[in-house]
Amino acid sequence: MILTSKLTKSVPAGPSRVWLLRDISLTVDEGDFVSITGPSGAGKSTLLHILGMHDADWEGEYTLDGNAVHKLSTKQRADLQRRTIGFVFQSYHLIDDLTVAENLDVPLRYRDVPKSERQSLVADVLDRFRIVGKKDLYPSQLSGGQQQLVGVARAVIASPRVILADEPTGNLHSDQAREIMSLFRELNRGGTTIVQVTHSEENAAYGNRVVKLRDGWMIP
């Protein structure tokens, strides 16, 4: 599903460059649940954003679902991203002036899903995540755990084949974190490929594989 070869990223720093990722060659099969771990500054989030195609400034090869991302135009990458990926953020990043239901509707709008279908999908997801009662609330009216639940629901609503999660439980206490991680496991069992970045060994253990990074290098 995901294949990178000699993936490298650097940024200029004065006369030289700082290397954020070096020769990352990573394979994630369909249905995998991979946890990327490592200390702060190891390059975990940088790698995740490259995989999520938020960052186009890198070298090497990256193939997603059989598509050579490094050969695609910006527009083709955006199309591929929309078809394939759902993203979960550490700070949830729900849109403040939209209700829960409207937040869930956002990814569907960007995928040009017809309105009636969107309503039906939003209703399904609200039901599946047991947040029907919260559908008309605004993010500020939810707890952190509830917000991240909505964040995950928003990531899966367009049925992506891959979910990328950047420290999804970083701002949650342990009970809420466990609830979210159980949800990821459940999704993974349903066939969704998941790549998460985490500091927590406990959370990393929810995955079936752990990839360790340090100073931009992948540690075997």
């Binding site: 400034d57 955006a78 993203f87 403040d96 956002v106 960007y110 993010p139």
Partner: protein, 796 residues
């Protein structure tokens, strides 16, 4: 100093605030000055609220405003118990001062003995008229205006007591009037009425006098009016033929003088305040955005021990600094705007020439600036010094959302106000264009007209006056560059008043005759209609056949023919002056010509032309049809007149285009002023929308990144920002439309040919406001569309 350093560190927002405030303050200060000097400043009369103007009307004949007669004056002054110092004056007369290198034509007025005691005005130099000078046979004396004193007599006090040659007679100047007194009728020369005005019995009922009086102490306006009603009945009973159905009315003199100027000025001032409101909101919005942008910084400083008072003082100092700079620039703008208004403003606005930006105006501007500064500071401090905990303030989410909503409301209000101004401007412009496209009925090209006021002493007899104009016309016709020439009692668009002609059409019954509107009488020489380019529709024009011994004839305007006969084929029909039983001779209609707007571009009358040799009224103006430019004919005219009589001045020389343009000055000015307001308001709104959306986009950078991560395309983000602008502008337009429908009713009296809130005007203004909002959103939308998700999500 630290304040200035802080402002200079991030100069964009303060500069934007200075521009917006300076424009708002400049315009509002200019309009405040004009309103104050024209409308609010008391007139130089004692207890102006007790002085009334008196006039007549005849509702049955649809005559809305008629001057008083000598019989009216005698009756009211003798019998009134509620009014004192009843006076009349005769306006719009012209006199000639002949002891100058060139004879000078000035506007003169004749006043009765109670006039100056009524106003309680003293002369600047010398004195006003004495009782003896008002008696028949009294010494010939004159008062001169301050303007004439400075322009013609070099502001020398010695003129008092000296004689001036007035139309061949010597008049002693007894005083110079104070500069602020430009009443009555902005006259430069005032003469006592009684010694010179002693009309024959039948002319005692001519409506030529303007009446003024003072209400006695304790008398209410209603009591004065009730008494006038009684006196009007008595006058009607005494002279039923002359005064049937005539009513008498009183109106505060100040209201009479200001007329439509007061509502016009008030409307413009309200509009100016709206522009200031936009500017204030704009500046407030800019300061709010600045305060919110520094919210985290403020929160940290509070956590480090800064007091709220200290932070508020900082914000206040910044806003005051901005307001002060804006005040100075605004003051300069105001001075420029006032100078422009005084220069281009129409002469119909009273006291406009006396308008100047003063210290009082500066105080007004400064007060406005301080209020604006405090409003801005309070807005900003609400954003930075609320009751939330430090943790809340450090959290950008909800606070940012609240700020965005508040700023959106601010931008919406600006757009709404701009919409109202746009509708006002659009109506004024459409009204102006309608007036500008009115066919005045005469040629705009190759016509020159001039006033030739004949000195009374030398031209007391009508025959002499006729002969003079006959000579001028004949000499001009044979002059090079002149195609034809004529003379007329009154030229088109000269005055709103004219010679009303009561008339009867042959075959009319008494009841029908009573409803005849007053005709517009014009006494003309042969050649006048041709010279003016007034088209002949049927029959013939006047020629040498129409002398005083010949059959009495007349030419009527198209509207006259249609009003009474339903056709222009009326040659041979007959009309006569007066009512059904009038002994005046029947006049045979020999021609029908196009209608001319004599009394104003928007005033339609039934024109009736009489040959000057068969009319009691002699010409006063010449009209020349030129082969070249009209200006080139002026020298020829002056030479001809000088040759015929060097004591006759050639004054008020105007081409026909100038006559029309002079009438367009007021609607053009209104359209310009309102158009400028609307343009400034729109510009400010665009800045406002830009400021708000720039802030919103900057504030939502992370959200933009999230949206990109959720699949948004650049176009989606662009649409998001533009949609915000659209939402705000459409809401503003909807609210603005309701406000405009309500507010534009106050413009009704200034509009011609357009209704107050036409859907097309509202739709057009709405489209412009929405386009302005889209324009204001363009840069923020573009920057949103170019959001780099990695930068936006950096804190992830």
């Amino acid at each position: 100093m630290r304040t200035i350093q802080r402002l200079l560190r991030q100069p964009a927002a303060p500069l934007l605030a200075i521009v917006t405030l300076a424009l708002g303050l400049g315009i509002s200060t200019a309009l405040f000055t004009v309103t104050r000097d024209v409308v609010l400043r008391p007139f130089p009369f004692r207890e102006q609220e007790r002085i009334v103007a008196i006039w007549s009307n005849i509702p049955e004949q649809s005559v809305p405003h008629l001057e008083l007669t000598l019989a009216d004056y005698d009756t009211i002054s003798a019998k009134s118990k509620t009014l004192e110092h009843v006076s009349v004056f005769s306006a719009a007369n012209f006199a000639v001062i002949a002891n100058m290198p060139q004879p000078v034509n000035v506007k003169a007025n004749f006043v009765t003995k109670s006039f100056y005691p009524l106003l309680d005005v003293r002369a600047l130099h010398g004195r006003v008229f004495s009782e003896a000078e008002h008696k028949p046979g009294g010494p010939p004396v004159a008062l001169i205006s301050h303007r004439l004193w400075t322009s013609l007599f070099g502001a020398k006090k010695e003129i008092v007591g000296k004689p001036i040659d007035l139309e061949g007679d010597k008049f002693t100047v007894v005083g110079v009037l104070p500069p602020e007194l430009n009443f009555p009728s902005d006259a430069d020369l005032i003469l006592p009425l009684e010694p010179s005005y002693n009309p024959p019995p039948e002319a005692r009922h001519n409506s030529v006098l303007e009446g003024v009086a003072r209400m006695k102490p304790g008398v209410t306006f209603e009591q004065a009016q009730a008494e006038l009603n009684v006196l009007a009945d008595q006058i009607e009973r005494a002279w039923p033929d002359q005064y049937k159905g005539t009513e008498k009315h009183a109106l505060l003199l100040v209201d009479e003088i200001l007329g439509t100027t007061r509502p016009a000025m008030t409307t413009l001032f309200v509009m100016a305040l709206l522009v200031l409101a936009i500017a204030t909101l704009n500046a407030a919005g800019i300061f709010i955005a600045r305060a919110v942008a520094r919210q985290r910084d403020t929160a940290i400083r509070l956590a480090l021990g800064a007091t709220r008072g200290a932070l508020l003082r900082e914000v206040l100092a910044e806003t005051m600094a901005v307001a002060m700079v804006a005040t100075v620039i605004g003051f300069v703008l105001a001075k420029l705007a006032v100078a422009l208004l005084v220069r281009v403003g129409p002469s119909s606005i009273p006291r406009l020439q006396q308008v100047s930006v003063s210290l009082g105006t500066y105080a007004f501007a400064a007060a406005m600036a301080i209020i604006v500064a405090i409003v801005c500071a309070l807005f900003a401090s609400i954003r930075t010094g609320g009751s939330e905990s430090l943790r809340d303030r450090l959290d950008r989410g909800n606070a940012a959302l609240r700020s965005r909503r508040l700023l959106s409301i601010v931008a919406g209000v600006q757009l709404g106000v701009a919409f109202v101004l746009l509708v006002g401007a659009a109506l004024m412009i459409r009204s102006f264009l309608t007036i500008a496209h009115i066919d005045a009925g005469f040629s705009r090209e190759h016509v020159l007209t001039a006033h030739l006021p004949l000195p009374g002493a030398a031209y007391g007899e009508a025959a002499k006056r006729r002969q003079f104009f006959t000579n001028v016309v004949e000499r001009m016709r044979s002059s090079p560059g002149i195609a034809t020439a004529g003379a007329t009692l009154i030229r088109p668009l000269e005055l709103e008043l004219g010679w009303d002609w009561t008339h009867t059409v042959e075959g009319q019954e008494a009841a029908a005759q009573k409803s005849n509107p007053l005709g517009n009488l014009v006494s003309v020489t042969p050649g006048y209609l041709e010279a003016m380019g007034i088209p002949l529709l049927r029959g013939r024009l006047f020629d040498s056949r129409d002398h005083d011994k010949a059959d009495k004839v007349t030419i009527v305007g198209r509207a006259f023919a249609l009003r009474y006969f339903g056709t222009v084929d009326v040659i041979g029909k007959r009309v006569k002056a007066g009512k059904l039983d009038s002994k005046q001779p029947w006049l045979k209609i020999v021609g029908v010509v196009g209608d001319v707007r004599y009394r104003g571009l928007t005033t339609e009358k039934l024109d009736v032309y009489h040959p000057y040799l068969q009319s009691g009224w002699t010409p006063q103006y010449v009209a020349l049809r030129t082969t070249g430019t009209p200006a080139a004919a002026e020298a020829t005219l002056r030479a001809v007149v000088r040759e015929l009589d060097p004591n006759v001045p050639v004054s008020s020389v105007r081409s026909s285009a100038e006559l029309i343009d002079a009438k367009l000055a007021q609607p053009r000015l209104s359209a310009w002023v309102l158009g400028t307001f609307a343009a400034v308001a729109l510009l400010l709104s665009i800045i406002g929308v830009y400021a708000v959306l720039s802030y919103a986009v900057r504030n939502r950078t992370t959200e933009m990144g999230v949206r990109l991560a959720l699949g948004a395309r650049s176009g989606d983000l662009l649409r998001l920002v533009v949609r915000h602008a659209l939402l705000v502008s459409i809401t503003a337009t909807t609210c603005g439309a309701l406000a405009a429908i309500f507010l534009t009713r106050f413009l009704g009296s200034f509009l011609y040919g357009v209704s107050r809130a036409e859907p097309i005007t509202l739709a057009l203004a709405g489209m412009i406001v929405i386009l302005a909002a889209i324009l204001g959103s363009a840069v923020p939308a573009w920057s949103a569309a170019r959001t780099d998700p990695m930068v936006a999500l950096r804190d992830e």
